[in-house]
């Protein structure tokens, strides 16, 4: 599979001269399976550019959009994603369920006046909605594992396994909420099975260790939590994701240095997610 980041900023888009290197668009990640199937993880503002790029390529007939949750920074790009304006595309939208309202109703609230000029029911593409609960979904040769994770509101993490390679995506996650990750047994850690042994993990790293105490329970991780989680789950490549909108490129690079220091000599050191970053996971031989 091939992974490309179109947006990795958390909470709010943050364009500007100080966020050029890592980008200001909110979460959206393209995943191309080995058979060419297109999966999109989240519909933050980065999905607009993803859609523009799609138009330059061989047309796709089916798109699977996997939403981790419905906070605005993960869905605000949906109305600007070219696929929803194309009646020839079969768009499947997966997202965490609610006990009260369907995924379609909740997305429909976002895509309706006064928040958006066009009603969801009037867009040319007729999205097909699916609850993404704790389950496994098969697409092509890939299996997508869905699991609820600790964040504010109904939120899931995803893991894509294909041909012996794996990509875990948990952009908004606070596994250290109320626990000491260094002391707790792994089976009691949110997100553990989604991330365990993954070739690549994109994980929330929104706060510094200094910032975290004043943001506890907001649903995000401090860098030391992210590194501890990455080590505990034995991921091969940890990608620090969901950058705080207030963090400049220079500050992010300082955070990466801190993450490397905490990571020690294990596997490849953590890297910062950046717009345009591509990761290739060729089939395992």
């Amino acid at each position: 599979m091939r992974i490309r980041i179109w947006g990795c900023r958390g909470s709010l888009a943050a364009p500007g001269s100080e966020t050029v290197r890592y980008g200001g668009n909110t979460s959206s990640v393209e995943v191309r399976l080995n058979d060419g199937s297109l999966l999109v993880m989240d519909a933050g503002t980065g999905i607009r550019d993803l859609g523009i790029n799609l138009a330059k390529q061989e047309p796709v007939k089916v798109v699977h959009l996997f939403l981790t949750h419905l906070h605005l920074d993960h869905v605000e790009g949906l109305g600007f994603f070219s696929a929803i304006w194309n009646p020839d595309i079969e768009l499947h939208i997966w997202g965490p369920p609610s006990s009260l309202r369907s995924l379609e109703d909740r997305i429909g609230k976002l895509m309706s006046p006064p928040l958006f000029p066009v009603h969801l029911g009037d867009v040319p593409c007729r999205p097909i909605f699916h609850d993404a609960n704790d389950q496994e979904i098969a697409i092509g040769n890939a299996t997508i594992q869905v699991q609820a994770v600790t964040h504010r509101g109904s939120t899931v993490g995803y893991r894509i396994d294909e041909d012996g390679r794996s990509f875990a995506y948990i952009p908004d996650h606070e596994p250290a909420l109320g626990v000491d990750l260094n002391k707790i047994e792994p089976e009691w850690v949110s997100g553990f099975s989604v991330a365990h042994g993954a070739d690549v993990l994109f994980h929330d790293a929104q706060y510094t260790e200094v910032e975290y105490p004043s943001h506890r329970t907001w649903g995000h991780s401090a860098i030391d939590h992210t590194v501890t989680f990455g080590l505990m789950t034995k991921v091969r490549n940890l990608v620090l994701f969901h950058h705080d909108p207030a963090h400049t490129d220079a500050e992010l690079e300082a955070h990466r240095s801190r993450a490397k220091e905490l990571w020690g000599s294990h596997n490849d050191a953590p890297v910062l997610a950046r717009e345009g970053m591509e990761i290739e996971l060729p089939p395992e031989r």
Binding site: T150, D161, H196
Partner: protein, 133 residues
Amino acid sequence: MAQVRQRNVALILARELAVNVTTPMWMWDESGMLVYYNEPAAAIIGRPFDDVETMHLDEIGQFRAEDLDGNQMSVPDLPSGVALRDRRPAQQILRITGYDGVKRTISVTAIPLFVRGDQFVGAMAVFWEMDDV
């Protein structure tokens, strides 16, 4: 495909609640195995959780629960048994004899834990010691 055991996030958060409150609580997974009780509960049960580690619901018969008239209660009739087997809330005042051999009167309220998709993931109960009634 990863097949690593991990508890449902609702159970994880429920346990963290139990760790952080001083109300006695215990909790069970969907298969009826005890997964945790907190220190205040240990004071009533008569042994720390780390010394017990786990037990199946059927084993709570060892606490010789009885109603206030002194009648023995079967496990399915106990609040935790009702929450786990019938998957509905239950409340009762009863007497148990802890590991320390002390008979105590306790009030127990047990609830089943369901998560989205109506998935049953276990049960938890709060209980506290009462003056003998």
